[in-house]
Amino acid sequence: MSPIEAGFLGMFCVLVLLLARMHIGLAMGLIGFLGFAYITGWEPALGLLRTVPYTTFASEGLSVIPLFILMGAFAFEAGMSEDLYAAVHKIFGGLKGGLAMATVAACACFAAISGSSLATAATLGRVAMPEMKKYNYDLGLATGSIAAGGCIGILIPPSVILIIYGILTEQSIGKLFMAGVIPGILEAVFYIITIWLLTRRNPALGPPGPKASTKEKVRAFSRTWEVIVLFTIVIGGLYMGIFTPTEAAGIGAFCALCFAFMRGKMKWLNFKNSLTSTASTTGMLFLIIMGAMMLGYFFSVTRLPFEFASMVAALPINRYAILACIVVVILILGCLMDSLAIVLLTVPVFYPLILELNFDPIWFGIIVVRVTEMGLITPPVGLNVFVLNGITGVPMHTIFRGVTPFLLADILQLILLISLPQISLFLPNLMN
């Protein structure tokens, strides 16, 4: 078996172990270890187990992940998500499907302080679902808008996935964050249009709620100033080059904690909950990262990514056709895996090819994130759908039915992002 064949076999084995319910991080790590041993021998492979875990854990660069998660946890405990929803609710509430539109808009705002899609979906699921039930919303539309809206969490910065992409490819995390802003807002706009079209055709899906006066709107919005300040500090600081991403995350978490105190919402128990829930998420993410690192070294030593890149780049086909194939592969994986694992698994393989084809690496990062986002709501493994099913008790198939129109909107937006790279690259190019 040639090393490259071993690489493909390794990928297949990871999928098999995954379907047999092995933990994704352990599956990637185990195959990485066995594959490395097959090519280089046992002692080097054991060396991988010796160095990779400690280096992955004791990383200053990766400390930005728990810190941004912590910021989101504090903001949630402080009730900022509820106030956000209340504010956008006042604007859209009176429209047909207005509550669903408000959900999407609130998701986009909450995305600005949360680094993960799951957290965004879970938070808005708790806040928005009771409202939409009260006004007799169609359960599919209600849950669909939360599941899809939650995806925006990893496109609008801060974003765990963009951080990982930046670390894997040595691209500036600050620039990647900037690149995500406009596509993220655009995604929310696409979803709101989708809801508008759906409820125009069938008003029963989302009956209008009460209209709010201007005074009420102003009052509701005045309660969201903390979120605006947080976003300005974190993203403004990164944009101006005042903070490194790690510093922005540390300051962001600290400010969120201060705001929570000022609101009187940070009792000892809330503080403890924020920390332990962050620890739990951190543990889950880092086990996946560790496994992916091991698998990545195995792929390296098979030389699969390099050979693959030069082979594919030499094919006499349009580079956009190759990009389309990459997108389809990620979409298929997205049906089975969670977004972090997909990025960790595919980026090391595809990235050399992207450079070879002269695509912009920052732009490709946004495309990758946009596509893996879709994986969060596609069956059979759609983590956002699972989370909502857990929180609201709405059956899985109802939620999957509800997200279908949003997936169509996703495809349209993806085509737009691919054909107009300036949408993503406009802000980061301003940074220099």
Partner: protein, 163 residues
């Protein structure tokens, strides 16, 4: 066998409780340290010496302890798609096999990390500014993976009805 599972849990749970408390404390310290470093640098023109290496060491505690905590919570993501179509008997055998493989693999990592403590200790590796020895922090990784391996081992004796 289920009694062994119960007994094992009784032993592991307190250890995990301590670990998550330590991880949570380290996380809070890391946040305050980061914020203090930035504030001191911009307002008082004097950064905290060695903040960078302290963050690395704090991460070395936070992550492995969080992984053990996470394993106990069973918060790790798995794919149920294929397995749930199998008969219960096949399912429980498959679970046993996968948990065994996981347990062996994590044990291997744990063994290598313990070897790494020894190696780091012997080589006198320290941090650059504060000259803090690195070995104790490698030990945190070893302890975290050890508890993870034990949790997986206990899961082997979980009764079938608990699935």
């Amino acid at each position: 066998m289920p009694s062994l599972y119960k007994f094992g849990n009784k032993v592991v749970q307190p250890a995990v409780n301590v670990m998550v408390s330590v991880a949570a404390t380290a996380l809070a310290v890391m946040m305050f340290l980061m914020a203090a470093d930035v504030i001191f640098r911009y307002l008082f023109n004097s950064p905290i010496p060695g903040a960078l290496e302290l963050i690395e060491f704090l991460m070395a505690i936070i992550v492995p302890f969080s992984i053990a905590y996470c394993a106990k919570l069973k918060a790790h993501v798995t794919v149920d798609l294929v397995v749930e179509r199998f008969p219960a008997k096949v399912r429980s055998i498959l679970r046993f096999i996968i948990t065994s493989i996981s347990c062996v693999f994590v044990t291997l990592i744990c063994w290598q990390n313990f070897a790494y403590i020894f190696e780091t200790y012997q080589s006198n590796l320290t941090s650059a500014v504060l000259k803090i020895p690195a070995a104790p922090f490698v030990a945190a990784a070893a302890i975290g993976t050890a508890v993870f391996a034990i949790i997986l081992f206990i899961e082997l004796f979980q009764s079938k009805s608990k699935e």
